[in-house]
């Protein structure tokens, strides 16, 4: 079933083809494909993190005439597809972009499973795949197998270890006890995080007193929060997805779950989270973070709001934009739509982005944010694997 933008994209491509026949190579165009969910269970996340940054980037580049190639300026022609949160559709769309639409470059899709599903096709057709929203412990194996695959946001273990480190340090400083209630959503990322966390928490000397999972889309999370509360934890950690991140937080407020550390995973960094709960989620921890105070981040945030109408999230949005900046700098650095040269350029150069400097070490970015915290209405990074601007972790003092 074709999405409306497929038809629109095909029409634009045909028209452009016709026009270029008449106008005889006056304007250079570089075709960039993008496929991600616009419908389906992950659409809510990709609508916040993925699509707005693509829209922002393309508009900004075209506003200054396009990418600077050796042959002159080339405007970006964006071809979008909706993969309906179905990896099969993502594969089909990438195949189509590569073989039928003859895209010069393809932006990596949204979601770990989806990026892994299309990695072979990207590699087969020689497209650089700068992945953002994919977090896995198999980065080493995957980058060896696919020389065109680049990771930016980190590994599962890094995320769980950061949380364990924060808890262990607070415990060592005598600020909290070592009892942790841990829950996770029974879907890919949630299960992976929980499985990774269990041995790490144990090794850090933490006592997991409540360890349960719940199906994706559970309408009533109060039994879980009540169960966690009954175990008397010092900290509450939820490896959760957007709907349950909101739901668990709401239930914790209503049940007055009095913990000094409250962590929910995906979507804690969304502007809507801070918007809905306001100061009640002050000092709540979440997955990922940014340093919103740098000049680049402030400019980025303002442009994002102006062009897409909404604020970026506090985690993957900026890295998504950075990945597009990296693509832009590589294409301009090579000076042509030469995919093999761009892949080479990605491996051997450093890039200036809104996240700071990014260099790929064996196709992996080693420096990323792992944990963030809402502090006085803004979401700041509090733990990272080497990013500047970490703020100190604060204890949660109630839900008022």
């Amino acid at each position: 079933m074709k999405h409306r933008s497929v038809l629109a994209g095909a029409l634009v491509a045909t028209l452009t083809g016709f026009l270029s026949l008449g106008v005889a190579q006056a304007q250079n165009v570089i075709k960039i494909g993008a496929v991600a969910p616009k419908t389906g269970p992950l659409a809510g996340g990709s609508t916040v993190t993925h699509w707005p940054n693509i829209k922002l980037w393309v508009e900004q580049v075209n506003a200054r005439g396009g990418l600077t190639l050796k042959s002159g300026k080339a405007k970006i022609e964006l071809i979008e597809y909706d993969d309906k949160t179905n990896p099969g559709e993502t594969i089909k769309a990438v195949q189509r972009l590569a073989t039928q639409d003859k895209a010069d470059f393809i932006i990596a899709p949204y979601g770990t499973g989806f990026n892994l599903a299309v990695a072979p096709i990207f590699a087969k057709h020689g497209y650089p795949q700068i992945v953002v929203t994919a977090i896995t412990d198999q980065i080493g194996d995957l980058t060896k197998r696919y020389p065109s695959l680049f990771f930016t946001l980190g590994s599962t273990t890094a995320f769980t270890k950061s949380v364990a480190d924060i808890l262990a340090k607070l415990h060592a400083d005598g600020k909290i006890g070592n009892k942790v209630a841990m829950v996770n959503v029974a879907d890919a990322f949630g299960i992976e995080l929980a499985a990774s966390a269990r041995p790490i928490f144990k090794a850090a000397g933490l006592d997991v007193v409540y360890d349960k999972s719940y199906p994706l889309g559970t309408q009533d999370l109060s039994p879980i929060v009540k169960g966690a509360k009954a175990a008397n934890p010092d900290a509450f950690v939820a490896w959760s997805y957007p709907p349950d991140t909101f739901g668990l937080t709401q239930q914790a407020m209503i049940q007055n779950l009095n913990v000094k550390v409250f962590y929910t995973a995906v979507a804690t960094a969304f502007p809507a989270y801070g918007g809905k709960f306001g100061m009640a989620v002050n000092n709540n921890l979440g997955a990922g973070g940014i340093n919103p105070d740098t000049a680049e981040m402030q400019t980025y945030s303002a442009s994002h709001k102006r062009i897409t109408g909404k604020a970026p999230d506090g985690w993957a949005s900026a890295t998504m934009y950075a990945s597009l900046q990296i693509l832009e700098q590589s294409i301009e650095g090579v000076g042509a739509a030469d995919r093999a040269a761009v892949i080479d350029y990605l491996k051997n150069n450093s890039f200036k982005t809104v996240m700071g400097d990014i260099t790929f070490n064996s196709q992996n970015n080693d420096h990323y944010w792992t944990v963030g915290q809402w502090q006085d209405g803004k979401y700041y990074g509090v733990a990272s694997t080497g990013r500047a601007g970490e703020k100190a972790v604060r204890l949660k003092g109630g839900w008022k």
Partner: protein, 288 residues
């Protein structure tokens, strides 16, 4: 006691999801797979009215219910009626309506995406603790339960004791015979379909006070509604309400006493057991 009340509150939520589909399937014989999207549309309407106009979702029902009624009536009149007219058997109508409403659900998702985008929408209304017998519950869920009970009672009273309700029940039992005794089956079916849609949209508006939703989440609700309607027995609203309560209690009990991860498995196990031992559902009639 805590499990009992939490379970009943969840049952109330489920009843809101399922009563509408029960009317549409039981009376109009339309297996409306776009039911979940109607729920999300009602939810979004309440969200929009609340965030734009600071109007309570309860008051917004005054607007949401008639609009949903009118919208669903139009859907029945122009999309479903041709299918009804040309189907030669109930089985064929069911298959046709499943396919048609399946497609309709995609259209509705597309319209909602185009209108308000794919973001999650959520707001806080009555998200305060409410004490019952010493245990804390969310006030918005208690209110949703109260409204669910009110709607259920009103529907049962209307269906059981009014002339028009009698006509609706007659059509639910056997549309052909109902036509023979002078009931305008098309008019009654259209009315039931529209009413079902309105109830679903109202349910969506109430549920939006405590759940985070986006344009694509409808399918999840359709599936739950389907289980409840089949479990409760097609054609009788009481069945849907009882089945919803049973499901809510079962899920809460399993989540609190055994493992929250088994709630979905428990729901479907219950579904299978009911189908095995009482295939017509709790309140249904055996197929003749």
């Amino acid at each position: 006691m805590d499990i009992l009340i939490t379970g009943l509150l969840l049952g109330g939520t489920y009843a809101l999801i399922a009563m509408g589909l029960n009317l549409q399937y039981g009376v109009a014989r339309i297996m409306n797979l776009a039911n979940g999207e109607m729920l999300v549309a009602g939810a979004f309407a309440a969200f929009w009215i609340f965030t734009a106009g600071q109007v309570s979702p309860l008051l917004s029902l005054v607007v949401v219910a008639p609009l949903a009624f009118a919208g669903n009536w139009l859907i029945y009149r122009f999309v479903m009626l041709p299918l009804v007219r040309r189907s030669r058997s109930q089985g064929q109508l069911e298959v046709d309506s499943i396919l048609a409403t399946f497609g309709l659900s995609f259209i509705l998702v597309g319209i909602m995406l185009a209108s308000f985008g794919g973001d999650y929408f959520t707001y806080s209304y009555l998200a305060v603790p409410f004490d019952i017998f010493g245990n804390t519950y969310a006030l918005n869920r208690v209110v949703a339960f109260a409204v669910a009970v009110a709607i259920g009672v009103l529907l049962c009273l209307w269906l059981g004791f009014s002339r028009s309700g009698l006509a609706v029940r007659a059509v639910a039992v056997d549309p052909r015979s109902a036509g023979l005794v002078g009931i305008d089956v098309v008019k009654v079916s259209a009315f039931a379909f529209a009413l079902g849609g309105a109830v679903t949209a109202v349910g969506g508006a109430l549920i939006s006070t405590f759940l985070t939703m986006d344009a694509s989440i409808g399918g999840l609700f359709t599936m739950k509604a389907l289980i409840i309607v089949i479990m409760g027995g097609v054609g009788d609203v009481r069945g849907a309400i009882i089945a919803a309560m049973v499901l809510g209690l079962a899920e809460t009990a399993i989540a609190s006493l055994i493992d929250p991860g088994l709630t979905l498995a428990a729901a479907y196990l219950l579904f299978i057991l009911v189908l095995l031992f009482r295939p017509q559902g709790l309140f249904g009639r055996r197929a003749s």
